[in-house]
Structure formats: C-alpha cells, structure tokens
C-alpha cells in the first residue's frame, strides 16, 4: 500500500472542499424556501451523525480502506459484490459533479462551447492531480480550499447595501414536512457522500483526530451554508431564490457596479475539483483493491474518461439534473450512505465485543 500520509488539517480542508463541491450550485435545502436555514441546521445534525458513523467504522477497523472492511465483514463474495456497487456509486457521484460543473459553465460563462470540451479539460486537470497521489491532493487542497470562504466573504461584503433581513418571515409557512424533506435531501447530498472518504481515512497520520476533524468540517460547512443562505435570501427574497437556477450566481450579479462572476467559477473549480478527485481516487483505489492491482494510478485515466462520458449521457438537460438531484438521488443513496454503513458499524462493534468476551 502507498505510504502517503495526510495531516489533520489537510483532511479537514479536503472534507470541506468535498462538501462544498457542488452544493455551491445545487443546494437541496433550498427546496424548503425561506425555512431552508432550519433544513440546513437539521441536515447538518443528521450529516454530523452520519459522518460520525463513518469515522467510527474507520476507527474500529484501523488502517483499512472501505473495500478491505467490506471483505472482512461480509466475506469475499458479498464483499466484492458490495465493493463493486460502491465503485459504481463513486463513479456516479463524480460524473454528476462533472455534469453540474459543465452545466454551470456552459449556461453562464461559455454558452457556445460544447459541454464535452469544458468537462474534458477539467478532467485532464484532475487526472494530473489524482495521479500525483493523495499527498499532493492534500497539499493542493491546503492551498486552494481556503479560497472558498474568502470568496463567499467577498461577495457577501459587496452585497451589504442591498439586504432585506425580513425575508425569512413568515416561519414554517409551508409546513414542517417540506423542511424535513429538504433536511433529508441535505443529509444525503452532500454529507452522506463522504462515505468516499472511507477510502482516504487510512492515510490520516493522527488517527485520534479523525472524529474531531470530521465534526469540525461539518460544523464549518453548516455555518458556511447558513451564511450563504442568509446572504442569498436577504438579497433575492425567498421566491426569487427558489426559482433561480444557479442561486449564488444570480446573487453575485446583483452586486452594484462590479461583476465577480469569475469568482464563482473559481469556487466551483476548487470545490468541484476536490469532490471529483476524491471520488475518482476512491473509485480507482477501490477497483485496484478488488482486482488486486498494486497501483491505482493505472486505473484513474480510464475511470475519469468513463465519468466524462457518463456525465454527458446521464441527463437530457439542466432541469432534469435539478429534479433528479432533489427527488431521486436521496432515495437512490440510502443503501450506500445509510444501510450498508450501519450494518458495517454493527458488525464491527460485534467483532470488537467478541474477543473481549472470550478473554473473560
């Protein structure tokens, strides 16, 4: 196995970049309209629990990746089958993010450029990053991810004159059910997708920090999303916010006398880049472990190419993308994000309890 190590702060930034990734474009919590803040908070709590489960699994099976854990707990046959499902899932996430990214760029910045070109160039860049290894990915994230909150802050400060802070009211206008639904979506996207990090956790140099890092990054993302939500709703109002296709972009267009459109692009490039690299890394690593290939680098190019093709093929248009992300994705994700991890946690706990019993 690769002996690369990433530090706690690198993992922290990787998780932040991952979580922020495409949330900057599609935030499922926004379907709760002006109660989205509640959905973000509830979703954050749920997300923290979910990441807690993943971290516990990693801690109960030290220095083992998701594939190795699955093999240990489920046996070779079922373990392999479930691993392949997970590989598919990671590839699927990556191609959805590719598509989000491509849609945004082709809709907003380069309307005449074919999406394949934009996604293709992005993919070449990411293959270079992923093939440099997990250490370099960590170090790059250390340099780039701090840009995300900075740009959010810049945009918010520029909009300080056009605020309407009563836009939240009235509270719970559309009932609690909508909020809960949005919160659930928000748990599965983005928090549940961090299951991919189970392929990365073994590289963390200080295992004892794992839970702290996970909790802090979730907290950070919840605060950041709240911050952005408050900005968006106080600038746009709940109705316009709900109907806008790319909300942060629309918000940034309202800055008087200045156009910071490229800043959003950069945000997306960094966040989406982190998310896709982590997913493709996880998929390549998992596939290499299932097939018994020593070096995952041999697979990254192939997997990335597959993702690019899949991303173009997967939706007909941008509206389908949004409706799929909100309506189908949460339920599609349940087995990967909740059922299998909970079974794994249960089995791992049982496994740990057994030897201690036999000693007594």
């Amino acid at each position: 196995m690769e002996k690369a190590r990433i530090s706690s702060i690198q993992l922290f930034l990787l998780i932040i970049g991952f979580l922020y990734g495409s949330t900057v474009i599609i935030n499922p919590a926004l379907s709760a309209k002006n109660d989205a803040w509640l959905a973000i908070l509830l979703g954050g709590v749920g997300g923290a629990l979910l990441i807690g489960v993943y971290a516990s699994i990693a801690l109960l099976n030290p220095s083992k990746t998701l594939v190795e854990i699955l093999m240990d707990r489920f046996g070779k046959l079922i373990g392999n089958a479930v691993s392949i499902l997970y590989i598919w899932y990671f590839i699927h996430i990556a191609s959805l993010v590719f598509r989000n990214f491509g849609e945004f760029i082709t809709t907003m910045t380069f309307p005449e450029t074919p999406m394949a070109v934009v996604i293709g160039i992005f993919a070449v860049l990411l293959v270079y990053g992923i093939n440099s290894g997990i250490e370099v990915m960590g170090r790059t994230s250390e340099l780039f991810v701090p840009f995300i909150p900075v740009t959010a802050l810049i945009i918010s400060l520029s909009l300080i004159t056009t605020r309407d802070f009563t836009a939240f009211l009235p509270m719970l206008e559309n009932g609690m059910a909508l909020v809960l639904n949005a919160a659930f979506s928000f748990i599965t996207f983005p928090f549940g997708e961090t299951i991919a990090f189970l392929m990365l956790f073994p590289h963390l140099n200080k295992k004892e920090n794992l839970k702290k890092v996970a909790a802090l990054s979730v907290l950070f993302i919840v605060v950041l999303c709240l911050f952005i939500f408050i900005r968006n709703i106080s600038v746009l109002g709940s109705d316009l916010m709900y109907r806008a296709i790319f909300t942060p972009h629309l918000t940034s267009l309202l800055i008087p006398g200045l156009n910071v459109e490229p800043l959003i692009d950069i945000n997306l490039l960094i966040g989406g880049g982190t998310k896709i690299s982590v997913c493709i890394y996880a998929a390549a690593k998992a596939l290499s472990q299932v097939l018994g290939i020593s070096d995952y680098r041999k697979l990254t190019t192939a997997i990335t190419t597959f993702c690019v093709v899949l991303s173009i093929w997967v939706y007909e248009n941008v509206l389908e993308m949004f409706s799929w992300a909100e309506k189908v994705w949460p339920y599609y994700s349940i087995p990967f994000q909740m059922v299998i991890p909970l079974i794994l946690l249960f089995l791992s706990l049982k496994k740990r309890a057994e030897p201690s019993k036999s000693r007594e």
Partner: protein, 530 residues
C-alpha cells in the same frame, strides 16, 4: 520516464569520449608506481606532459660528488615561483650542499619533509596518478632519486579577481562582499562569518577531464544529517566530463530535472549564504564560479531577500507581499487582459470599457496576437540588453523600448493599454529574479489558455501549476512548505516576516525527523544509476 533515451545517449557519448582519451597512450594506471630512478621519472613525466609548454621540470643536483639528485615539477604560472624558490629550492641547496650520501636514503626524504622545506602545506604522493593530479591542480612536486614517493608542496599562486560587490544580487543594506571564482577565497569568506569548527567543508573532485574541486558546506548540528548524506550521494553519482559552472551540478542533482521551477538555489552573496547555512541548508561550492548552490531550495525562498532581515519587520513584510503581487501580476496580467477583452466584457466596469474600446479601435490584431507580439518584442530587447557589450546594451534596451512602444502605438499596431500592460508585466517580472525564467514561459501558457477559455482557462492552468508545485520536492522537502504542508512555526518567515528577535526557532521543515525523501529521492536514485 520519457527522458530515458536522451540520458542513455548522453551517457554513451560520454563513454565514447572516455575511450578516445584512453587510446592516447598518456593514460595513467590507477596504481602505477613512481619510478625510483630520477631519470625514469623524468622520462615518464615528459611522456605524459608532451606538448604541454607550460609544464616545468627542474633538476637539482647537490651534495658531495653530486650524489643527491632531486627534481621539481610544476605547471608554469600556476605556482608562485618566488615562494617555490624561497621555500624549496634554496633550503634544499643550502642544506644538502655538503652532505654525504649515506646508505639510509630514507633519511633524505624524512629530512626534506621534516626540516628542510619551509612550507606548511606538504603532502605525499604515493603513485603516478596522484603525482599527475597534483601537478595539474597547481602543486609543485619534489622527487628524490631512489624514492618511490614524492613530496607535494602547496605553493599555488593566488589566482583570479579580487572580492567585489556582486552584480546580480544587489542589496541596500548588508555586506558588499560577493563570492569570486576561487574556491578557497569563497570558503574563507564563509568561515570569516561563521567562526565555528562545526562549519564543515567536505572537498571532492568532479569531472573526469576538468577535475573541478567541489566543496560541500554545512553546519554540523544544524543541518539535517540525512540531507547532507543525500547531497553527498547525489554528487558522488555524477559522471561527466566537465564541471565548468555550478549550473552543471545544479542540473545533475536537482530533484525534478524537467521542471521549470528551480529546486536548487544559488547565490553570490556571502551574508545570504551564511544565513542559509544557519537555517540548516547545505551549500555546494564549485571552483571556478562565484555562484554557490544551496539545497534544499523551497518556493518561498524566491521571494525572500537578505534585506528583509536587516530592515524593520513591517517594511520587510510589505516588501514580501509586494513581491508576491509582482509574481502574480507578471504571470497573469497579459492573460487576464486577453480573457477580459475576449470573454468577460461584463466584468469590466463601464467607464473603463469605453476607454478600452477607444484604445483598441483600429488595431488589426486580436488581443492575443497583440500581446504575444509585444511580449516577444520585450523579451528580445531584454535578451539583446544582456548579450550586447555593456555600454551599448543599456542604451539599446531603453531606446529600443521607447521607440518600439511609442512607434507601435502611433502606427496602430498595438493599443496603448497593451503597451502599459507589457511594461507592468516586465517590471514585475524583475522583482523576483529566481523565477524570471519560469515566469517567462508560464506567461505564454496563461495567455494561450486565456485566449481559448477565458478565466476558466486561466484558473485551470493556475490549478495545474499549483498541483505541479505541490508535487515537487527539493531533497525530500516539499517545495511549497511551509504553506503546504502547513508548518505553523515556519510561517514566521514566509509572507509575514517577524522581527529578528522573534525568530526563535530554526525552520522546522528542514529538520523533520523522517525526511524520507519519499518519492523524490527514490526516483532520483533510480535515474542516476542508469
């Protein structure tokens, strides 16, 4: 690795060159003994140095019945003849003028070594190889009839220019002394600043033909032993004909040979080098060049200047930030302009937009072509300014720039704004000298990316460059340290400079326990073995 073929070819040609020399007949076996008879020595040296008009051979005959025969061999002009006469020839003649040849021939040799020759720098040569090596490196050799050893007497004449202020690195405060071409002068300059026996100077010779003296310099206890060992190993693996400048060594030992970014630093200033040594870096002196190499070299060092530490910390911090800004501007500005004009009109404020449109009116070229032409013109002027004889060069670059800038705008070939942009870019690129070459090329990449994809292209290239920088290592130390990996205690001397009394710890990144050189070092070994 793609460069395999190239290295293989170079190596083969080196091998061919070596064989040529061996066939010359003047080849000296590794362990060829020194002939006992003085005539044989003469004949052998005459054979080896045939055709060398600067080779001098002086025979001394003294003692009763001319029984003691000696000879001195040296290269004319390389040794100080007056010192040679005073220290060697005179005392020998005086001492042995009346001596009787005894059976114990040994005694002559011992006496010569211990009480006759008035020189403090005496070594012994055991075989012909050493004899020849010492002669060509400027020592005088004393042979005694009937001995299979020879005395090596250090009477090298001081060579080269005086210590003077370096041209390439100028500082407002700090020492005006710069290194010179002579290795010993350079090491003395460092020893003068760091008066400590822990300052180690390890000497070795490199280059099959040139036999250039190389000196590894570090402070024991401060420098990381593993890095020192790595430097030693990499230097030992160099197999080449000639080392004419430290630039040769730099190319051989740097971690990533094809990267545009320097992973080995060089300096001409003594105080700067002393500072680097005290931080725990390793210096490599090379005889014949004033540029001393320092490793490991990190990215942050290119925006550090020795003035930063001599001056007020706030001012130094401001200068650091200014240099970083200059670095960004010199890389990105032309690309940004092209992206703004070509793709992102909406980002430009309206009034500026009008000015811009007015200045671009009637220009036949696209912004990209315009930018490339102007930057090429500037690079040409710069190169001409360097290559021209100095008195002409200065006026050429100024007049050329003025005429070209003015005239091209008047003729409607380029816009005013473009001239301003290229000028700012040029000024900024000179602020960070170590990265001038990297910037020069990357600027074009940014330009091309901006022309095809606007800001998206620029940010893609930007990310790619940073991934590359994060991949780089210099002697096992991550290139982008202390930012990534984040080393909190080293941030005191990065973008922010704290006052010198607050710099209480040495750079930690250089001392980390497990330098493990990971990828970088291991790859290097494989490459050098070929």
């Amino acid at each position: 690795m793609g460069d395999e073929g190239v290295f293989e070819k170079i190596k083969n040609s080196n091998r061919a060159a070596k064989q040529n020399i061996n066939s010359d007949g003047a080849c000296i076996d590794e362990n060829e003994p020194i002939p006992q008879a003085i005539e044989a020595v003469k004949a052998r040296l005459g054979e080896i140095f045939s055709g060398c008009s600067d080779f001098m051979y002086r025979e001394i005959v003294c003692g009763e019945n001319n029984c003691i025969k000696m000879s001195v061999a040296y290269i004319n002009g390389f040794v100080d003849k007056r010192v040679l006469n005073q220290d060697v020839v005179r005392p020998v003649l005086d001492y042995f003028s009346n001596a009787i040849l005894q059976d114990k021939r040994n005694r002559i040799y011992e006496q010569l070594k211990e009480c006759v020759v008035n020189n403090s720098d005496i070594k012994e040569a055991e075989n012909m190889r050493q004899v020849v090596d010492n002669i060509v490196s400027g020592e005088a050799l004393l042979f005694i009839d009937g001995e299979d050893r020879a005395l090596v007497i250090g009477v090298k004449a001081p060579q080269g220019r005086q210590v003077s202020e370096p041209d390439t690195e100028v500082s407002i405060r700090g020492a005006r002394e710069g290194f010179v071409e002579n290795l010993l002068t350079n090491t003395t300059l460092i020893r003068k600043r760091i008066k400590n026996p822990n300052l180690k100077l390890e000497i070795m010779q490199l280059g099959e033909q040139t036999k250039t003296d190389i000196c590894i310099c570090y402070i024991k206890g401060i420098a990381n032993e593993e890095i020192v060992k790595e430097v030693r190993d990499r230097l030992k693996k160099i197999k080449t004909d000639a080392i004419l400048d430290s630039g040769y060594i730099e190319q051989f030992i740097s971690d990533s040979r094809l990267s545009l970014f320097p992973t080995v630093g060089n300096s001409e200033k003594c105080d700067k080098l002393a500072g680097k040594l005290l931080e725990g870096r390793v210096a490599i002196f090379c005889d014949g060049t004033p540029y001393v190499l320092t490793v490991p070299y990190l990215y942050i060092e290119s925006i550090q200047a020795s003035d930063d530490y001599y001056d007020h910390a706030f001012f130094a911090t401001f200068m650091r930030l200014l240099r970083l800004l200059a670095l960004l501007v010199s890389n990105l500005l032309p690309g940004m302009y092209v992206a703004l004009v070509g793709f992102h009109h909406t980002v430009i404020p309206f009034k500026l937009m009008i000015t811009l449109a007015a200045s671009r009116q009637g220009i036949p070229f696209s912004p990209f072509t315009e930018a490339v032409l102007m930057i090429l013109a500037f690079e040409l002027l710069r190169e001409a300014g360097v290559r021209m004889p100095r008195p002409i060069g200065q006026s050429l670059s100024i007049v050329g720039a003025l005429v070209l800038g003015e005239a091209s705008v008047a003729a409607g070939i380029s816009s005013n704004l473009m001239v301003i942009i290229v000028a700012i870019t040029a000024v900024c690129s000179f602020v960070v000298p170590p990265l001038i070459r990297a910037t020069m090329l990357i600027r074009f990449v940014f330009l091309a990316a901006a022309n095809f994809l606007g800001f998206f292209g620029i940010s893609s290239v930007f990310v790619a460059v940073f991934i590359h920088l994060c991949r780089l290592r210099s002697f096992g130390i991550p290139y982008m340290a202390p930012f990534s990996p984040l080393t909190a205690s080293d941030l005191k001397d990065s973008l922010v400079v704290v006052p010198i009394w607050a710099m209480v710890t040495r750079p930690r990144i250089l001392r980390q326990e497990n330098v493990k050189g990971a990828a970088g070092v291991k790859r290097q070994e494989v490459r050098l073995k070929r």
